[in-house]
């Protein structure tokens, strides 16, 4: 029975890790801009980023399918350029996880960045460091705790993602059946013992990744 968990575990980790990397990169950028810059459309960005949180995941997924499908704005251009249909692939799952966990990263991190003493940024400027360098080596390290919190939340959310993934990536054994989807399938088909095993594995995996994150925190000295 355990071998039925190996692929879902692998694909879940792959999707969650990739999505988290994306979320961190994009999230840090957006958070920094939201916290430190004034620009037109700032509120709009804020709202757009938060929206996936209030929508039922299925709706988010539906909107993503419309966007990414062969007739969708993004899906069409992607298909025309590469011949690659993204829907029902694990890449689509990464996008779904990314969209639903981005708000967690952005809210958490922009609050943390907003709490960093601007004076220290000014000091870095007088020492000749550009805004980018200062953001990377002064602001973000000082917002560390919030960033780590956002990272943990995003990763956990990506791991637990279900509704949107189901819509855009399908629930295809050997391709896109993440742990969440596998648990769902096992549970639906009355295979409760498999469902239980999968839940236990999912929980253990999450604990391990959270412990790893904690290690990361300790390393990153402040």
């Amino acid at each position: 029975m355990l071998e039925q968990a190996i692929f879902p575990l692998y694909i879940t980790l792959k999707i969650a890790t990739l999505s988290t990397i994306l979320v961190v990169l994009v999230g840090l950028l957006i958070s920094y801009l939201l916290a430190r810059r004034d620009f037109t459309g700032k509120n709009l960005v804020d709202i757009l980023v938060t929206l996936p949180l209030v929508l039922p995941p299925t709706v988010t997924g539906y909107l993503l399918v419309i966007l990414l499908g062969k007739n969708g704005v993004l899906g069409q251009s992607l298909f025309e350029m590469t011949g690659f249909g993204i829907l029902f692939t694990w890449q689509a799952a990464v996008i779904a996880a990314f969209v639903v966990s981005l708000p967690l990263m952005v809210k958490t991190t922009s609050a943390a960045i907003g709490s960093v003493d601007r004076e220290l940024e000014y000091v870095a400027y007088t020492l000749g460091h550009s805004e980018l360098e200062t953001a990377l080596f002064v602001t973000l390290p000082l917002a560390k705790k919030g960033i780590i919190a956002g990272l943990v939340l995003s990763f956990a959310r990506a791991v637990g993602e279900f509704g949107a993934t189901l819509m855009v990536a399908g629930n295809i054994p050997g391709k896109t059946n993440t742990m969440s989807l596998s648990i769902y399938t096992a549970f639906q088909s009355g295979n409760d013992s498999l469902a239980n095993i999968l839940v236990v594995i999912l929980v253990i995996m999450s604990l391990v990744s959270m412990a790893a994150t904690a290690k990361l925190v300790n390393r990153w000295k402040v």
């Binding site: 000014y122 400027y125 007088t126 020492l127 000749g128 460091h129 002064v138 000082l142 000295k221 402040v222």
Partner: protein, 370 residues
């Protein structure tokens, strides 16, 4: 206008609720010399430094350093702090809490090799007497140690201009004296302008090539330390530079020695020209108030006999307060311990006061800002 620094800026902070606004309106020039900004707490010294560094934007005006226009409200020019790169010691140090002392100090050495950084670090640690602390984090430093790290960080990149906001306030006398010399020689070696804020009059006097006195946001006096300390242009400046005896007076006429002013029942003669129609106050530095034993026979003006009110030992000197006859106020006289010993006086003793008319400073009352 000439000089390597030209500052002429205005900036307003509006006060909360019924508190008054603060208006900065500062205008001074200086060449490659050490300029001490001197002024009461809240007079706008830090604000001025921040504007020069590019951390605060003046509402209008002009800042030029070493031929480079830093700010010009007419040309809408405002260089970024990165393009100004001042060596700035912040009043509250503003060390990076997440960086070690070594990292803090070398953080301004962008683009230098690791070896060069290491070497400069060790120079700075030695200069600041904090060798051994390089691996500590700021949270584990004492106040004075933090201040020295902040100094080291500002000096390390050999900046074009140094802005030092009370850089020695948390240091003991021994280190302070040594660092005063260092700053002086750094200024001379690098031949850069240094703006230095201090509340210590001796520090101001010994360090400064030029003193700029700020009061309530504007420059009241600007000149060599001797000018400012010995000839303060008004009461505010006088108080700041240690003229602790200041009294209101009425014009009483002219005598063979100069002009005469009356305060309580004493008459004070001054060599300064005084106009009969205005109101004045006069002042004298306590070390220029000379005391003599009551039995001594001294002639000349500004000599009167009085009683000793109290004596304060300041360690290296004594301050004797004597009553001003006919009034409730006291006059302070400062002298070294040996002279005090020779006087043989104490509270209640009789003695003679003597003040040289040339040491009597006169200020118009409520003189407008200079």
């Amino acid at each position: 206008m000439s000089g390597n620094i030209r500052v002429d800026i205005k900036k307003r902070y509006s006060g909360q609720e019924d508190a008054p606004d603060f208006n900065l309106d500062v205008n001074f020039t200086a060449s490659n010399e050490l300029v001490v900004l001197f002024g009461r707490s809240g007079s706008g010294k830090t604000t001025t430094l921040r504007c020069i560094a590019g951390l605060g934007k003046p509402d209008m005006g002009f800042i030029e350093v070493n031929g480079k226009v830093y700010f010009d409200s007419e040309l809408k020019k405002n260089l970024s702090p990165q393009d100004r790169r001042p060596g700035y010691v912040f009043q509250n140090y503003a060390l990076f809490p997440h960086m070690s002392v070594a990292k803090n100090i070398t953080y301004g050495l962008k683009g230098k090799s690791d070896a060069a950084k290491e070497q400069r670090l060790h120079e700075m640690l030695g200069l600041m007497h904090i060798t051994g602390l390089q691996n500590e984090y700021p949270s584990r430093l004492s106040g004075g140690q933090k201040q020295r790290v902040a100094l080291a960080r500002a000096l390390a990149p050999n900046p074009d201009i140094l802005l030092l906001d009370e850089p020695f306030s948390a240091l003991d006398m021994v280190v302070r004296m040594r660092l005063r010399e260092r700053i002086h020689s750094i200024q001379e070696t690098l031949d850069i302008p240094v703006l230095f804020i201090t509340h210590n009059p001796v520090e101001a006097f010994t360090l400064a090539d030029k003193v700029v006195v700020l009061h309530e946001g504007s420059v009241h006096q600007e000149g060599r330390p001797e000018d400012v300390f010995y000839n303060p242009c008004n009461r505010h400046v006088a108080e700041l530079v240690g003229v602790s005896n200041i009294f209101d007076a009425d014009f009483a006429g002219k005598s063979e020695y100069g002009f005469v002013l009356n305060t309580d029942s004493i008459s004070i003669t001054t060599t300064t020209n005084v106009d009969a129609d205005s109101s004045y106050s006069w002042g004298v530095r306590p070390e220029n108030v000379h005391l003599h034993p009551a039995r001594e026979d001294i002639s000349g003006c500004n000599v009167f006999s009085t009683t000793v009110h109290s004596v304060v030992n300041r360690g290296a000197s004594r301050v004797v307060a004597v009553d001003i006859p006919g009034g409730g106020s006291v006059l302070l006289s400062e002298m070294d311990n040996r002279n005090f010993g020779k006087l043989d006086i104490g509270p209640g003793s009789e003695c003679l006061v003597e003040i040289d008319p040339r040491d009597v400073l006169v200020f118009a009352l409520e003189e407008p800002a200079g």
